[in-house]
């Protein structure tokens, strides 16, 4: 088990390496430079100065080597757009907020989704089932941007009990976290329900019931463990989904997270920020997948690890 974990963590290294090469290459193949403003192109000499200052006039592979060299020492470079800040500072300042938002989103998804799915499965084909699934379907089919505005309209503008935007207080966190988590909750609810229904049809469940075990214990001790396996599996992609969703949510609710740097940096060709955010997100995904795999293994020891 330990060996497995260590091996997977070591794999993160070449993964990040390849990602960095691909991103760097793509980044530099896009025309444009970080310094031209939209209306006023810089005079050639100023541009040259700036490019030399940031060593953008060297060949791409050299820039890459320089970047990697610095990155391995923990220096992710300066931002070209925010000229008095380094990438490290930007990440340190905004990533924690995104993480908090993301974790809370996943938490909401789990806390709402899983119980909803369990209830729906246990009360299969009753009104409760249909109601839960209806709610879940809404969560799946309404995109975050629309959901956000509906919530803002209802709770902030009409009822006036929550603020529209920004981040810092508990009240400000409610709408964005809910918007983010609702999609995931819907997915988890449907998945949990389908999975539990499937498990409840298994023979060993029938056996347990035949032995006279109370239904509740049957569900919790025997069925859930196996039913939750697909749920755990999907947590990896779910986290990735939170990343996507957070871009929309952060923008609409004016939350100062990393999301806007992610998209904006590509638009303004802020190379170090592009690299920094990509690598960071990659690491997060690798970590999330690793956690999922470990949990998977722990829940179901019958799963054999890959044979290498």
């Amino acid at each position: 088990m330990i060996g497995y974990v260590v091996r997977r963590m070591l794999w993160a290294v070449p993964v990040c390496f390849v990602i960095s090469v691909i991103t760097f290459g793509l980044m530099h193949s896009i025309p444009g430079n970080p310094f031209d403003k939209m209306d006023k192109p810089l005079p050639a000499q100023v541009l040259k100065q700036l490019m030399a200052h940031y060593q953008l006039d060297k060949p791409v592979y050299m820039q890459y080597l320089q970047y990697i060299g610095n990155a391995l020492q923990g220096n992710l470079g300066p931002s070209y757009q925010y000229m008095n800040r380094t990438v490290n500072e930007i990440i340190a300042g905004s990533f924690p907020k995104s993480i908090v938002l993301g974790i809370m989103g996943v938490a909401v998804a789990l806390i709402i989704g899983v119980p909803l799915g369990i209830v729906a499965a246990v009360r299969h084909n009753t009104a409760m089932d249909y109601l839960s699934m209806f709610i879940a379907l809404i969560g799946v089919s309404v995109p975050a941007m629309t959901m956000a505005w509906i919530l803002i309209w209802v709770f902030a503008l009409k009822l006036g009990i929550l603020p529209v935007a920004r981040w810092g207080s508990v009240q400000q966190a409610i709408l964005p976290v809910f918007t983010l988590g609702v999609g995931g909750a819907a997915i988890l609810a449907r998945l949990t329900r389908a999975s539990l229904l499937q498990v409840l049809r298994e023979d060993y469940i029938r056996a347990a019931r035949a032995k006279g075990v109370t239904e509740w214990i049957v569900i919790v001790r025997h069925a859930l463990r196996n039913a939750l396996i697909p749920v755990v599996t999907v947590l990896g992609p779910l986290t990735a989904g939170m990343l996507t969703g957070s871009l929309v949510v952060e923008r609409i609710f004016a939350i100062p997270g990393l999301g806007k740097y992610f998209v904006e940096s590509v638009n303004v060709r802020d190379y170090p920020v592009i690299m920094g955010t990509t690598l960071l997100y990659a690491l997060v995904l690798v970590a999330a997948n690793l956690l999922v795999d470990i949990t998977y293994y722990w829940i179901d020891p019958r799963i054999k690890m890959s044979k290498n």
């Binding site: 990602i19 193949s29 896009i30 995109p143 049809r201």
Partner: protein, 307 residues
């Protein structure tokens, strides 16, 4: 031994009994028809702008209202069916085909080939596909480096095709490049377990070629679960396209895509709600239909369900 054709017949019967799945399938079929016949049934062309009608609410002339350029929302929704279905279905098809081939080969041969292929998959899996898609879209949309690249025939060709499709091709490429990975993993897992089964061993003993075995014995068994997976992934592609439109990297205007319409409309939700509600409903309906169908397929193909 071919997979039991009885399995498929049973599955189909079970599917037919699932009302939700059937409604999903019917809706999808209906949408496909709408997409094909769009020029015939849409009251106006999707780019017909009437400035006197800008922002009109739903009414006699414009059943669902008009957008910020005075274009009929109903017509744009009708034409938009094409885009959404193309993105969803073509994206799914490419993911499916690449994924099943890649995964079957990797799982069947195993050993070092499998190792290498799966490492590649792992790396791609860890890549934040969102960023990759964004980078790709920016590359495609940003003019390809000026004069030199603009003379490159491959680039010119791609650009021409893209224009024909209203800016959709690069989105398709972007989505496909990142989406086959999940399918590949799944196929490989199943291929791994299937290759030890007796019917495969028997075929090998009879001297069948590897490729024959893969094509006739392994892949057909994978189709079922993969089909489920793919159907359930379609709403994701449609959602990705909406997201790209939200950040400005979607189709070129005036091509109507429901995602772009929602992305445009959400800002006007307070003043002109019809602009966001109708495309939103359309998106929701198509996503739900694929979800229902996918769920139904999964239930239908599950051998444990007793009916």
């Amino acid at each position: 031994m071919k997979p039991n054709s009885g399995l498929w017949r049973d599955a189909f019967k079970r599917l037919a009994k699932n009302k939700l799945a059937v409604s999903g399938a019917v809706i999808i079929f209906f949408l496909v028809l709408v997409a094909i016949m769009a020029p015939l049934i849409a009251p106006r062309h999707y780019s017909d702008a009437d400035f006197a009608a800008v922002y009109s609410p739903p009414g006699a002339l414009y059943p669902l209202g008009a957008d910020f350029l005075g274009r009929d929302l109903l017509s744009r929704l009708i034409y938009g069916t094409r885009i959404s279905l193309q993105v969803g279905v073509l994206g799914a098809l490419s993911a499916f085909s690449i994924g099943i081939l890649y995964g079957t080969i990797s799982g069947y041969f195993g050993g070092n080939l499998d190792n290498v292929m799966m490492r590649i998959v792992d790396i791609l899996y860890a890549f934040p596909d969102l960023l990759f898609v964004i980078l790709l879209m920016v590359t495609f949309k940003s003019g390809y480096g000026g004069e030199e690249a603009a003379k490159n025939p491959l680039v010119l060709g791609l650009v021409a095709i893209d224009k024909q499709l209203g800016g959709m091709m690069f989105i398709l490429i972007g989505i496909s490049v990142t989406s086959w990975v999940g399918m590949a993993r799944m196929s490989r897992g199943m291929a791994l377990s299937l290759r030890e089964r007796e019917f495969v061993q028997a075929a090998k003993a009879q001297g069948a070629h590897d490729f024959t075995i893969m094509a006739r014995h392994l892949m057909p068994n994978l189709v079922g679960p993969l089909l489920v997976s793919v159907t359930l992934a379609v709403p994701g592609y449609i959602g990705t396209e909406a997201f790209l439109s939200f950040i400005g990297l979607g189709v070129d205007p005036p091509t109507p895509s429901w995602g772009a319409m929602v992305a445009d409309g959400y800002q006007a939700m307070r003043s002109y709600p019809h602009l966001a509600i109708f495309p939103g409903l359309a998106l929701a309906i198509v996503m739900l239909s694929f979800n229902f169908l996918g769920d139904g397929l999964r239930d239908a193909l599950d051998p444990k369900i007793k009916q």
